[in-house]
């Protein structure tokens, strides 16, 4: 069952997703005495102030040592705590890959890794810090649950879901220094493993994740005026993928566009292509980083130079629509 009921009527409020996550952590800490928040010399924001005053032992900073951050979180979990680690995505992944694989996934530890500043859309920092490969790398590791919320509300709910789930969880959050449009109403319910249909349509489906879901929605609304009915799925759980929703979209639209802020190789685009090609082959056009490193610039400049803007998504929709039409005509002639 696809759900459209949760979308906010107006999406003109912006909220920082990292702040929303921190707020959720404080609420969690109050309810659950096992929650521990661990940082790798990363700003703890609101959560830090509240935690340090109320629960001084439950906020730990291990310094600039991301490999140690992940492995020590496994140790904390072994001692009965539920740790949430926080550091930049690129370093949790790059310096902590082996640790995520070995200490969290293989040993099935109840620890949560929050990938902060994930994806390529991180302004004023440069390619050394912009992650393009986190989805591709992490989804190849068994046992991991990978959550990728798209706004502050889904972030808050995903944080709660991560704490309730027993096992290792990756929580992917975008640039911590900016606010992003709120898509969902306050009563939104985050369901692990479920995509959320936020726009109905059967001409084409856009499958997006993270902060670009808003752009996908914007494109769907614009195309509606042109008479094109776009289904938009917010892929909030990268793993396990909502195969049912994605295959229904494939069958009912026959044309898919995927949208993500990382490399299309092995990313969401890769995952959707794998699934459809095995079960219901349809055209899949992947919007995302085309196997290149990022660039410096503002959020808008980065999106522009890497081809992640609404016009680029729209162009991809036109392309799959056209090719689908040609394919149908060809079939008709037979």
């Amino acid at each position: 069952m696809l759900k459209t009921i949760y979308l906010r009527e107006k999406r003109d409020t912006l909220e920082n997703m990292y702040v929303a996550h921190n707020r959720a952590l404080v609420q969690l800490a109050e309810k659950n005495e096992k929650i521990v928040s661990v940082y790798g010399d990363f700003p703890s924001g609101e959560v830090g102030e509240v935690f340090q005053e109320k629960y001084p032992d439950r906020l730990i900073d291990v310094g600039i040592a991301e490999g140690h951050l992940i492995t020590s979180a496994a140790g904390l979990a072994d001692a009965g705590w539920i740790p949430f680690t926080h550091c930049h995505d690129i370093f949790a992944l790059g310096r902590g890959y082996n640790q995520i694989r070995q200490n969290l996934a293989y040993d099935n530890r109840n620890a949560k890794v929050v990938l902060c500043n994930s994806g390529v859309v991180w302004p004023a920092i440069g390619p050394s810090h912009q992650t393009i490969e986190d989805i591709a790398a992490l989804r190849a590791i068994p046992n991991l649950l990978i959550l990728s919320p798209s706004d502050a509300i889904s972030t808050e709910k995903a944080t709660f879901a991560a704490a309730d789930y027993v096992g290792p969880v990756i929580l992917r959050l975008p640039f911590t220094g900016a606010a992003f449009p709120i898509l969902y109403a306050n009563d939104f319910e985050f369901e692990i493993g479920k995509a959320v249909c936020i726009h109905e349509g059967s001409d084409v489906a856009i499958l997006a994740t993270g902060i670009l879901v808003n752009s996908a929605l914007q494109v769907a609304e614009e195309l509606e005026k042109e008479g094109i009915q776009v289904r938009v799925l917010d892929i909030q759980t990268i793993k396990p993928l909502d195969e049912e929703a994605i295959l229904s979209a494939a069958k009912e639209t026959d044309a898919i566009v995927t949208v993500e802020d990382g490399n299309i190789y092995g990313g969401l685009g890769g995952a959707v292509s794998e699934l459809t090609s095995e079960n219901y082959p349809v055209l899949v056009k992947r919007v995302g980083v085309k196997d290149q490193f990022g660039d410096s610039g503002t959020i808008e400049e980065i999106k522009e130079c890497l081809g992640l803007t609404p016009p680029m998504i729209k162009q991809a929709v036109y392309e799959v629509m056209e090719r689908k039409g040609t394919k149908k005509k060809r079939k008709g002639r037979k």
Binding site: G63, G67, S72, D78, A79
Partner: protein, 286 residues
């Protein structure tokens, strides 16, 4: 004093029994990490059968002391120790390295009594730091983050490291973090057998003085003969008396200790032929 002598003699005999059992475990795969198992046998025996607080009938007991075998390849002897203690049935040892076994070819959490899977070197000390921190954390007040502490640690963590393993950078991230948090419930034991996978440690990357290194990282450090049971027992007792600092025991050992023809050679990963097995069992008094 006699009690003490009996204790030492008993532990020594047990260590040799575990060496012998580990050879039989190795035989299942036809090849084994003999050198590292034999060099570490004495202090692993002393930890497991003398110093540590644990209960084989309740492997997930929350307040058990933790033993992290960071040099996770030295697994055959540890599996023998688990069987000896009663964590797993002795018959299970012959499933070692066969498909579907709980006894994988590096220490593995699938087996009861193992807290952290090994295989990837340099990780275990970080795990031990995390769990040692966890033993001090109090939900609603300051204990880990203050000194002197308001409450005792719920348990201790022991971590066995290889000397070659200390090449890995993360060992030193963990070492720095342990002293920063004054984790006096954490003891690292370096099996300083002077050889790593492919050559002598001095040849590969000279560790210089591991004792001075740990000391510089803020650890209370001692060097011992790691194949002398009396010294081991004494130093493990000493570790309990240290407050405010993690303890590093640089345990000078002999690679292959107990297997006369292999002692002090780089017998890291040895083919276990029938002949070698026979020689080993004979040397160990069987």
């Amino acid at each position: 004093m006699t009690d003490r002598k009996e204790l030492i003699a008993g532990l020594q005999a047990k260590a040799n029994r575990l060496r012998r059992d580990s050879l039989l475990v190795m035989k299942e795969m036809g090849i084994g990490w003999l050198g590292g198992c034999f060099s570490s046998a004495d202090f692993i025996t002393a930890l497991f059968f003398y110093r540590m607080k644990h209960d084989p009938k309740n492997p997930r007991w929350e307040d058990r002391d933790r033993l992290i075998i960071s040099k996770g390849h030295s697994c055959e002897l540890f599996y023998a120790a688990l069987a000896e203690a009663g964590y797993i049935p002795k018959e299970e040892l012959c499933t070692y390295s066969h498909p579907g076994t709980r006894l994988q070819t590096h220490v593995d959490c699938r087996s009861p009594g193992i807290d952290c899977s090994g295989g990837s070197l340099g990780l275990g000390l970080s795990f031990a730091v995390g769990t040692a921190m966890g033993a001090y954390i109090l939900s609603d007040c300051r204990n880990l983050t203050t000194f002197p502490r308001y409450q005792q640690a719920r348990f201790r963590a022991y971590c066995v490291l290889g000397d070659g393993e200390c090449n890995e950078g993360q060992v030193w991230e963990a070492a720095a973090n342990a002293s920063h948090y004054k984790l006096d419930n954490l003891t690292a034991i370096v099996d300083h057998n002077k050889f790593q996978s492919t050559a002598a440690v001095k040849v590969k990357m000279d560790p210089l003085s591991l004792a001075e290194k740990f000391k510089a990282f803020g650890w209370e450090t001692r060097e011992i003969d790691g194949n002398d049971m009396a010294e081991i027992v004494e130093i493990l007792d000493w570790a309990l008396t240290v407050t405010g600092k993690p303890q590093a025991i640089i345990s000078h050992t002999i690679k292959g200790k107990g297997f006369p023809s292999l002692e002090n050679t780089n017998c890291h990963y040895v083919k276990i032929t029938d002949e070698l097995l026979k020689k080993g069992l004979e040397a160990l008094g069987e």
